[in-house]
């Protein structure tokens, strides 16, 4: 739980710091990555995938990476 709150804290910090320098693209990329790190903690700890059979856990890990990369890629189309 502490890890997740610090995720939000990091988001706010990154946002404030980079945002003020108007380098929003890097801020957004960072936010997307942090978002998926948070998501990863939710499915590992709250959905108990940490102790689940590894094919299922792997499926979610792979999805998290693929989704993050895909969204970053699509985002960059408009940058």
């Amino acid at each position: 739980m502490g890890r997740l709150d610090s995720g939000d804290g990091i988001v706010v910090a990154v946002w404030t710091w980079i945002g003020f320098r108007e380098k929003f693209h890097y801020a957004t990329a960072a936010i997307l990555i942090i978002t998926f790190v948070k998501i990863r903690f939710v499915f590992l700890d709250f959905m108990e995938l940490r102790t689940a059979p590894w094919p299922l856990r792997m499926a979610f890990e792979v999805w998290a990476i693929a989704a993050c990369v895909t969204l970053l890629g699509l985002y960059s189309l408009g940058v």
């Binding site: 959905m47 969204l71 189309l77």
Partner: protein
């Protein structure tokens, strides 16, 4: 559905709940991923509009909702842990609090949407608000289902005859709530935060 509910050997992999519910969760994750991809793509075609309209969103509401859901998810995990170790009163209490968190989310969503609607920002206003109402709306549907599931789980642990047989049902149901949480975390980043 045998003795795996007393997981004494932590190195042994344990599938929470039954496999069928994972199919549903995976399917739902895939559909939401598709929706998010379509959103980000459409956004890349109209970046200026999306950035401008995004300013009209209430970030405070969004952040509060995120924290509510994260806490609620954590409470559900605690409840399952309580049930597994025989602390049924802990399980009951945590489910109640988790349900209240879910209801709180819905209430805030009501205020948030009312705010937008009175400012005449509807699903047909422009593409950004189309996605805003659609994504938060589909998520809200999942919230209602999730709250229903939590109420059902709460009733399960109130039953004095709850035993390890019921753990399978409990785990299956308790896997759905973090899914709702995950979708919201992604949605919050995409709608409220990304520039």
């Amino acid at each position: 559905m045998s003795s795996t509910y007393e997981v004494t050997d932590s190195a042994k992999p344990h599938l929470p709940g039954e496999s069928g519910v994972w199919m549903f969760i995976i399917g739902d994750v895939l559909i939401f991923s598709l929706l998010f991809s379509v959103f980000v793509y459409d956004r890349s075609q109209e970046v200026a509009l999306f950035i401008e309209q995004q300013q009209l969103l209430n970030q405070t509401f969004g952040l509060v909702n995120t924290l509510l859901l994260l806490t609620s998810s954590w409470l559900v995990a605690l409840a399952v842990h309580g049930a597994r170790t025989g602390h049924l009163s802990q399980a009951r209490g945590c489910f109640v609090l988790a349900i209240l968190g879910g209801i709180g989310f819905v209430v805030i969503k009501y205020f948030e949407w009312s705010e937008k609607l009175t400012a005449d920002l509807t699903i047909e206003t422009n593409n950004f608000f189309m996605y805003y109402y659609l994504m938060t709306g589909i998520h809200l549907m999942h919230m209602f289902i999730g709250i229903g599931v939590l109420v059902f789980l709460w009733q399960c642990v109130r039953d004095a005859e709850f035993n390890t047989q019921g753990m399978g049902v409990l785990e299956s149901g308790a896997c759905f709530w973090p899914l709702v949480d995950i979708v919201w975390i992604a949605l919050f980043a995409l709608l409220y935060l990304m520039r």
